[in-house]
Symmetry: C2
DNA sequence: GCATCTTACGCGTGACGTAAGCATC
DNA sequence: GATGCTTACGTCACGCGTAAGATGC
Protein backbone atom coordinates (compact mmCIF):
# COMPACT_ATOMS: atom_id res chain seq x y z
CA UNK A 1 0.00 0.00 0.00
CA UNK A 2 1.57 3.25 -1.12
CA UNK A 3 0.18 6.72 -1.56
CA UNK A 4 -0.08 6.18 -5.31
CA UNK A 5 -2.56 3.37 -4.77
CA UNK A 6 -4.36 5.41 -2.17
CA UNK A 7 -4.60 8.39 -4.46
CA UNK A 8 -6.14 6.22 -7.14
CA UNK A 9 -8.51 4.74 -4.60
CA UNK A 10 -9.53 8.13 -3.26
CA UNK A 11 -10.07 9.52 -6.73
CA UNK A 12 -12.23 6.58 -7.73
CA UNK A 13 -14.21 6.93 -4.53
CA UNK A 14 -14.68 10.64 -5.02
CA UNK A 15 -15.75 10.38 -8.65
CA UNK A 16 -17.75 7.22 -8.19
CA UNK A 17 -16.31 5.44 -11.21
CA UNK A 18 -13.18 3.76 -12.46
CA UNK A 19 -13.40 5.25 -15.91
CA UNK A 20 -13.86 8.72 -14.50
CA UNK A 21 -10.93 8.23 -12.14
CA UNK A 22 -8.77 7.02 -15.01
CA UNK A 23 -9.54 10.12 -17.04
CA UNK A 24 -8.94 12.36 -14.07
CA UNK A 25 -5.59 10.70 -13.42
CA UNK A 26 -4.59 10.66 -17.09
CA UNK A 27 -4.37 6.91 -17.32
CA UNK A 28 -6.56 4.04 -18.47
CA UNK A 29 -9.28 2.00 -16.78
CA UNK A 30 -7.23 -1.14 -16.50
CA UNK A 31 -4.60 0.51 -14.38
CA UNK A 32 -7.15 1.89 -11.97
CA UNK A 33 -8.80 -1.50 -11.72
CA UNK A 34 -5.47 -3.17 -11.13
CA UNK A 35 -4.37 -0.80 -8.39
CA UNK A 36 -7.66 -1.02 -6.56
CA UNK A 37 -7.56 -4.78 -6.94
CA UNK A 38 -4.07 -4.91 -5.47
CA UNK A 39 -5.13 -2.71 -2.60
CA UNK A 40 -8.07 -4.99 -1.91
CA UNK A 41 -5.86 -8.07 -2.09
CA UNK A 42 -3.29 -6.56 0.23
CA UNK A 43 -5.85 -5.53 2.80
CA UNK A 44 -7.89 -8.67 2.34
CA UNK A 45 -11.13 -6.73 2.08
CA UNK A 46 -13.39 -5.46 -0.64
CA UNK A 47 -13.31 -1.69 -0.99
CA UNK A 48 -15.95 -1.13 -3.64
CA UNK A 49 -19.25 -2.58 -4.66
CA UNK A 50 -19.22 -2.89 -8.44
CA UNK A 51 -22.42 -1.89 -10.19
CA UNK A 52 -23.33 -1.62 -13.81
CA UNK A 53 -23.33 2.12 -13.44
CA UNK A 54 -20.16 2.59 -11.46
CA UNK A 55 -18.79 1.76 -8.06
CA UNK A 56 -19.74 2.42 -4.45
CA UNK A 57 -17.65 2.24 -1.35
CA UNK A 58 -18.16 -0.71 0.94
CA UNK A 59 -18.06 -0.26 4.67
CA UNK A 60 -14.36 -1.04 4.65
CA UNK A 61 -13.87 1.37 1.80
CA UNK A 62 -15.55 4.06 3.87
CA UNK A 63 -13.16 3.28 6.69
CA UNK A 64 -10.13 3.55 4.45
CA UNK A 65 -11.14 6.72 2.65
CA UNK A 66 -10.23 9.27 5.33
CA UNK A 67 -6.80 7.70 5.69
CA UNK A 68 -6.28 7.87 1.95
CA UNK A 69 -7.33 11.49 1.81
CA UNK A 70 -5.14 12.37 4.75
CA UNK A 71 -2.20 10.65 3.11
CA UNK A 72 -2.61 12.52 -0.14
CA UNK A 73 -2.95 15.79 1.72
CA UNK A 74 0.08 15.00 3.82
CA UNK A 75 2.28 14.34 0.82
CA UNK A 76 1.13 17.56 -0.73
CA UNK A 77 1.83 19.54 2.39
CA UNK A 78 5.22 17.94 2.88
CA UNK A 79 6.28 18.86 -0.63
CA UNK A 80 5.04 22.36 -0.21
CA UNK A 81 6.73 22.86 3.14
CA UNK A 82 10.08 21.52 2.13
CA UNK A 83 10.27 22.80 -1.42
CA UNK A 84 9.01 26.32 -0.84
CA UNK A 85 11.94 28.48 0.08
CA UNK A 86 10.52 31.77 -1.06
CA UNK A 87 10.32 33.08 2.45
CA UNK A 88 12.86 32.67 5.20
CA UNK A 89 11.14 31.00 8.08
CA UNK A 90 11.78 28.36 10.68
CA UNK A 91 13.88 28.35 13.79
CA UNK A 92 17.41 29.64 14.05
CA UNK A 93 19.10 27.60 16.73
CA UNK A 94 22.18 29.31 18.09
CA UNK A 95 24.50 28.53 20.93
CA UNK A 96 26.42 30.96 23.02
CA UNK A 97 28.39 31.30 26.20
CA UNK A 98 26.36 32.67 29.03
CA UNK A 99 28.26 35.94 29.21
CA UNK A 100 28.06 36.55 25.48
CA UNK A 101 24.37 35.79 25.50
CA UNK A 102 23.76 38.35 28.17
CA UNK A 103 26.15 41.02 26.99
CA UNK A 104 26.17 41.00 23.21
CA UNK A 105 23.35 38.96 21.71
CA UNK A 106 20.48 41.38 22.29
CA UNK A 107 22.22 44.06 20.26
CA UNK A 108 23.16 41.60 17.53
CA UNK A 109 19.74 40.05 17.16
CA UNK A 110 17.83 43.28 17.23
CA UNK A 111 18.05 43.90 13.49
CA UNK A 112 17.75 40.23 12.65
CA UNK A 113 14.37 39.69 14.22
CA UNK A 114 12.97 42.67 12.37
CA UNK A 115 14.29 41.61 8.98
CA UNK A 116 13.42 37.93 9.33
CA UNK A 117 10.35 38.16 11.45
CA UNK A 118 9.15 34.68 10.47
CA UNK A 119 12.23 33.10 12.02
CA UNK A 120 12.09 31.99 15.62
CA UNK A 121 15.32 32.32 17.53
CA UNK A 122 16.38 29.69 20.01
CA UNK A 123 19.45 30.54 22.05
CA UNK A 124 21.13 27.84 24.08
CA UNK A 125 24.02 28.53 26.38
CA UNK A 126 26.85 26.22 27.29
CA UNK A 127 30.58 25.65 27.16
CA UNK A 128 32.62 26.29 24.07
CA UNK A 129 33.47 22.68 23.24
CA UNK A 130 29.91 21.57 23.76
CA UNK A 131 28.56 24.29 21.50
CA UNK A 132 31.14 23.55 18.84
CA UNK A 133 30.22 19.88 18.86
CA UNK A 134 26.56 20.74 18.45
CA UNK A 135 27.29 22.94 15.48
CA UNK A 136 29.35 20.19 13.90
CA UNK A 137 26.58 17.62 14.27
CA UNK A 138 24.09 20.20 12.98
CA UNK A 139 21.89 20.28 16.04
CA UNK A 140 22.69 23.98 16.23
CA UNK A 141 22.80 26.32 13.26
CA UNK A 142 25.66 28.28 14.71
CA UNK A 143 27.27 29.39 17.95
CA UNK A 144 29.19 32.26 19.42
CA UNK A 145 32.23 30.81 21.09
CA UNK A 146 35.12 32.42 22.87
CA UNK A 147 38.46 32.31 21.13
CA UNK A 148 41.46 34.46 21.96
CA UNK A 149 41.29 37.33 21.60
CA UNK A 150 37.86 37.68 19.98
CA UNK A 151 34.40 36.13 19.92
CA UNK A 152 33.74 34.33 16.63
CA UNK A 153 30.82 32.55 15.12
CA UNK A 154 30.86 28.99 13.96
CA UNK A 155 28.33 28.05 11.33
CA UNK A 156 27.23 24.64 10.18
CA UNK A 157 24.31 25.17 7.86
CA UNK A 158 25.69 27.89 5.65
CA UNK A 159 22.58 28.42 3.59
CA UNK A 160 20.67 29.48 6.61
CA UNK A 161 23.44 31.14 8.51
CA UNK A 162 24.31 33.51 5.71
CA UNK A 163 21.86 36.26 6.57
CA UNK A 164 23.22 36.16 10.06
CA UNK A 165 26.28 38.44 10.52
CA UNK A 166 29.56 37.04 11.66
CA UNK A 167 30.86 38.68 14.73
CA UNK A 168 34.38 40.01 14.89
CA UNK A 169 35.92 41.18 18.13
CA UNK B 1 7.70 10.92 -3.27
CA UNK B 2 6.00 7.86 -1.90
CA UNK B 3 5.81 6.40 1.56
CA UNK B 4 8.46 3.85 0.69
CA UNK B 5 10.97 6.63 0.07
CA UNK B 6 9.84 8.40 3.19
CA UNK B 7 10.19 5.28 5.27
CA UNK B 8 13.75 4.88 4.07
CA UNK B 9 14.44 8.52 4.75
CA UNK B 10 12.97 8.36 8.24
CA UNK B 11 14.90 5.20 9.06
CA UNK B 12 18.16 6.70 7.88
CA UNK B 13 17.46 9.83 9.89
CA UNK B 14 16.61 7.85 12.99
CA UNK B 15 19.64 5.58 12.81
CA UNK B 16 22.01 8.27 11.59
CA UNK B 17 23.52 6.19 8.82
CA UNK B 18 22.79 4.77 5.41
CA UNK B 19 24.45 1.46 6.12
CA UNK B 20 22.53 1.07 9.36
CA UNK B 21 19.28 1.95 7.63
CA UNK B 22 19.99 -0.58 4.91
CA UNK B 23 20.52 -3.33 7.45
CA UNK B 24 17.44 -2.33 9.38
CA UNK B 25 15.37 -2.38 6.18
CA UNK B 26 16.91 -5.62 4.94
CA UNK B 27 18.37 -4.12 1.82
CA UNK B 28 21.71 -2.75 0.65
CA UNK B 29 23.39 0.64 0.99
CA UNK B 30 23.06 1.54 -2.65
CA UNK B 31 19.29 1.33 -2.57
CA UNK B 32 19.08 3.60 0.45
CA UNK B 33 21.42 6.07 -1.18
CA UNK B 34 19.41 6.00 -4.38
CA UNK B 35 16.05 6.55 -2.70
CA UNK B 36 17.32 9.42 -0.60
CA UNK B 37 18.96 10.88 -3.66
CA UNK B 38 15.72 10.68 -5.61
CA UNK B 39 13.85 12.30 -2.77
CA UNK B 40 16.38 15.12 -2.67
CA UNK B 41 16.18 15.56 -6.43
CA UNK B 42 12.41 15.60 -6.40
CA UNK B 43 12.20 18.14 -3.62
CA UNK B 44 15.14 20.13 -4.91
CA UNK B 45 16.76 20.31 -1.50
CA UNK B 46 19.47 18.50 0.38
CA UNK B 47 18.12 16.38 3.22
CA UNK B 48 21.32 15.11 4.80
CA UNK B 49 24.80 16.36 5.47
CA UNK B 50 27.18 13.55 4.52
CA UNK B 51 30.07 12.95 6.89
CA UNK B 52 32.75 10.34 6.97
CA UNK B 53 31.08 8.86 9.98
CA UNK B 54 27.48 8.91 8.85
CA UNK B 55 24.81 11.43 7.98
CA UNK B 56 23.02 14.29 9.70
CA UNK B 57 19.76 15.94 8.84
CA UNK B 58 19.90 19.35 7.26
CA UNK B 59 17.38 21.99 8.21
CA UNK B 60 15.17 20.88 5.35
CA UNK B 61 15.59 17.30 6.44
CA UNK B 62 14.43 18.26 9.90
CA UNK B 63 11.38 19.88 8.35
CA UNK B 64 10.55 16.79 6.35
CA UNK B 65 11.06 14.26 9.12
CA UNK B 66 7.79 14.75 11.01
CA UNK B 67 5.84 14.41 7.78
CA UNK B 68 7.69 11.21 6.95
CA UNK B 69 7.03 9.77 10.39
CA UNK B 70 3.40 10.75 10.25
CA UNK B 71 3.07 9.14 6.83
CA UNK B 72 4.57 5.87 7.97
CA UNK B 73 2.36 5.84 11.05
CA UNK B 74 -0.69 6.65 8.96
CA UNK B 75 -0.12 3.75 6.59
CA UNK B 76 0.33 1.44 9.52
CA UNK B 77 -2.83 2.64 11.18
CA UNK B 78 -4.83 2.44 7.97
CA UNK B 79 -3.82 -1.17 7.44
CA UNK B 80 -4.62 -2.04 10.99
CA UNK B 81 -7.99 -0.35 10.94
CA UNK B 82 -9.16 -1.83 7.69
CA UNK B 83 -7.67 -5.28 7.94
CA UNK B 84 -8.52 -6.07 11.52
CA UNK B 85 -11.94 -7.64 11.55
CA UNK B 86 -11.55 -9.55 14.76
CA UNK B 87 -14.07 -7.39 16.51
CA UNK B 88 -17.32 -6.10 15.09
CA UNK B 89 -17.25 -2.34 15.37
CA UNK B 90 -18.22 0.71 13.36
CA UNK B 91 -21.58 2.24 12.63
CA UNK B 92 -24.67 0.36 11.53
CA UNK B 93 -26.69 2.74 9.40
CA UNK B 94 -30.27 1.70 9.12
CA UNK B 95 -33.29 3.32 7.60
CA UNK B 96 -36.87 2.94 8.71
CA UNK B 97 -40.29 4.42 8.35
CA UNK B 98 -41.19 6.72 11.14
CA UNK B 99 -43.87 4.47 12.56
CA UNK B 100 -41.68 1.38 12.49
CA UNK B 101 -38.86 3.28 14.14
CA UNK B 102 -41.09 4.30 16.99
CA UNK B 103 -43.06 1.10 17.39
CA UNK B 104 -40.72 -1.77 16.68
CA UNK B 105 -37.06 -0.76 16.56
CA UNK B 106 -36.42 -0.36 20.29
CA UNK B 107 -37.40 -3.94 20.92
CA UNK B 108 -35.40 -5.19 17.96
CA UNK B 109 -32.22 -3.33 18.78
CA UNK B 110 -32.24 -4.11 22.46
CA UNK B 111 -30.35 -7.37 22.12
CA UNK B 112 -28.19 -6.07 19.31
CA UNK B 113 -26.60 -3.23 21.23
CA UNK B 114 -25.71 -5.58 24.04
CA UNK B 115 -24.13 -8.19 21.80
CA UNK B 116 -22.27 -5.72 19.54
CA UNK B 117 -21.56 -2.96 21.98
CA UNK B 118 -18.80 -1.50 19.81
CA UNK B 119 -21.23 -0.79 17.01
CA UNK B 120 -22.91 2.58 16.86
CA UNK B 121 -26.42 2.56 15.51
CA UNK B 122 -27.64 5.33 13.26
CA UNK B 123 -31.32 5.24 12.44
CA UNK B 124 -32.68 7.43 9.69
CA UNK B 125 -36.34 7.69 8.90
CA UNK B 126 -37.96 8.35 5.52
CA UNK B 127 -40.22 7.02 2.83
CA UNK B 128 -39.95 3.50 1.54
CA UNK B 129 -38.61 4.29 -1.94
CA UNK B 130 -36.07 6.70 -0.55
CA UNK B 131 -34.81 4.18 1.99
CA UNK B 132 -34.65 1.46 -0.64
CA UNK B 133 -32.59 3.66 -2.93
CA UNK B 134 -30.16 4.44 -0.12
CA UNK B 135 -29.71 0.76 0.60
CA UNK B 136 -29.07 0.08 -3.06
CA UNK B 137 -26.42 2.77 -3.31
CA UNK B 138 -24.90 1.54 -0.03
CA UNK B 139 -25.32 4.73 1.92
CA UNK B 140 -27.42 2.70 4.33
CA UNK B 141 -26.58 -0.79 5.54
CA UNK B 142 -30.19 -1.82 5.56
CA UNK B 143 -33.70 -0.53 6.05
CA UNK B 144 -37.04 -1.60 7.40
CA UNK B 145 -39.59 -0.84 4.75
CA UNK B 146 -43.31 -1.46 4.61
CA UNK B 147 -44.50 -4.10 2.20
CA UNK B 148 -47.92 -5.77 2.28
CA UNK B 149 -48.69 -7.38 4.47
CA UNK B 150 -45.45 -7.38 6.50
CA UNK B 151 -42.45 -5.27 7.36
CA UNK B 152 -39.29 -6.60 5.69
CA UNK B 153 -35.68 -5.70 5.78
CA UNK B 154 -33.58 -4.81 2.80
CA UNK B 155 -29.87 -5.36 3.14
CA UNK B 156 -27.02 -4.14 0.97
CA UNK B 157 -23.85 -5.00 2.79
CA UNK B 158 -24.53 -8.62 3.65
CA UNK B 159 -21.34 -9.23 5.58
CA UNK B 160 -22.27 -6.62 8.07
CA UNK B 161 -26.00 -7.07 8.04
CA UNK B 162 -25.85 -10.75 8.86
CA UNK B 163 -25.78 -10.41 12.64
CA UNK B 164 -28.81 -8.24 12.35
CA UNK B 165 -32.03 -10.26 12.36
CA UNK B 166 -34.49 -10.05 9.50
CA UNK B 167 -37.89 -9.01 10.55
CA UNK B 168 -40.91 -10.99 9.55
CA UNK B 169 -44.43 -9.78 10.15
C1' DG C 1 43.03 -1.07 6.15
C1' DC C 2 38.50 -0.09 7.78
C1' DA C 3 34.60 2.53 7.88
C1' DT C 4 31.51 5.46 5.37
C1' DC C 5 28.68 7.00 1.17
C1' DT C 6 28.41 7.10 -4.14
C1' DT C 7 28.30 5.49 -8.83
C1' DA C 8 27.97 1.98 -12.52
C1' DC C 9 25.62 -1.84 -14.34
C1' DG C 10 23.04 -6.22 -15.34
C1' DC C 11 18.85 -8.51 -14.38
C1' DG C 12 14.09 -9.44 -13.08
C1' DT C 13 9.81 -7.82 -11.56
C1' DG C 14 6.23 -4.68 -11.95
C1' DA C 15 3.55 -0.89 -14.07
C1' DC C 16 1.74 0.96 -18.10
C1' DG C 17 -1.31 0.93 -22.26
C1' DT C 18 -3.72 -1.86 -25.96
C1' DA C 19 -7.18 -4.89 -26.73
C1' DA C 20 -10.49 -8.38 -26.01
C1' DG C 21 -14.11 -10.21 -22.70
C1' DC C 22 -18.47 -9.76 -19.77
C1' DA C 23 -22.40 -7.78 -18.01
C1' DT C 24 -26.08 -4.45 -17.88
C1' DC C 25 -29.17 -1.22 -19.77
C1' DG D 1 -24.75 -0.84 -29.27
C1' DA D 2 -23.33 2.10 -25.51
C1' DT D 3 -21.30 2.19 -21.05
C1' DG D 4 -18.74 0.36 -17.31
C1' DC D 5 -15.57 -2.95 -15.07
C1' DT D 6 -12.29 -7.02 -15.68
C1' DT D 7 -8.78 -9.93 -17.64
C1' DA D 8 -4.93 -11.04 -20.76
C1' DC D 9 -0.70 -9.72 -22.59
C1' DG D 10 3.41 -7.39 -24.66
C1' DT D 11 6.66 -3.81 -23.82
C1' DC D 12 9.41 -0.90 -21.25
C1' DA D 13 11.19 1.14 -17.11
C1' DC D 14 12.23 1.07 -12.53
C1' DG D 15 14.14 -0.99 -8.45
C1' DC D 16 16.95 -4.40 -6.65
C1' DG D 17 21.57 -6.32 -5.54
C1' DT D 18 26.58 -6.96 -6.93
C1' DA D 19 30.64 -4.69 -7.40
C1' DA D 20 33.90 -1.08 -8.03
C1' DG D 21 35.05 3.92 -6.79
C1' DA D 22 35.92 7.79 -3.69
C1' DT D 23 36.89 9.84 0.65
C1' DG D 24 38.23 10.27 5.45
C1' DC D 25 40.27 8.39 9.69
Amino acid sequence: MNNHDLNIFATAARLGGITKAAKSLSTVQSNVTTHIRLLEDELGVQLFHRNHSGINLTRKGHELLPYAQQMVALVHKAKETVSNSKEVRGTLRIGSSQTTAAARLPELLKDYVVRFNKVDIAVETGFTDEMTARVLDYSLDGAFVTGQPSVTMTSGDHAFARPFPFLAS
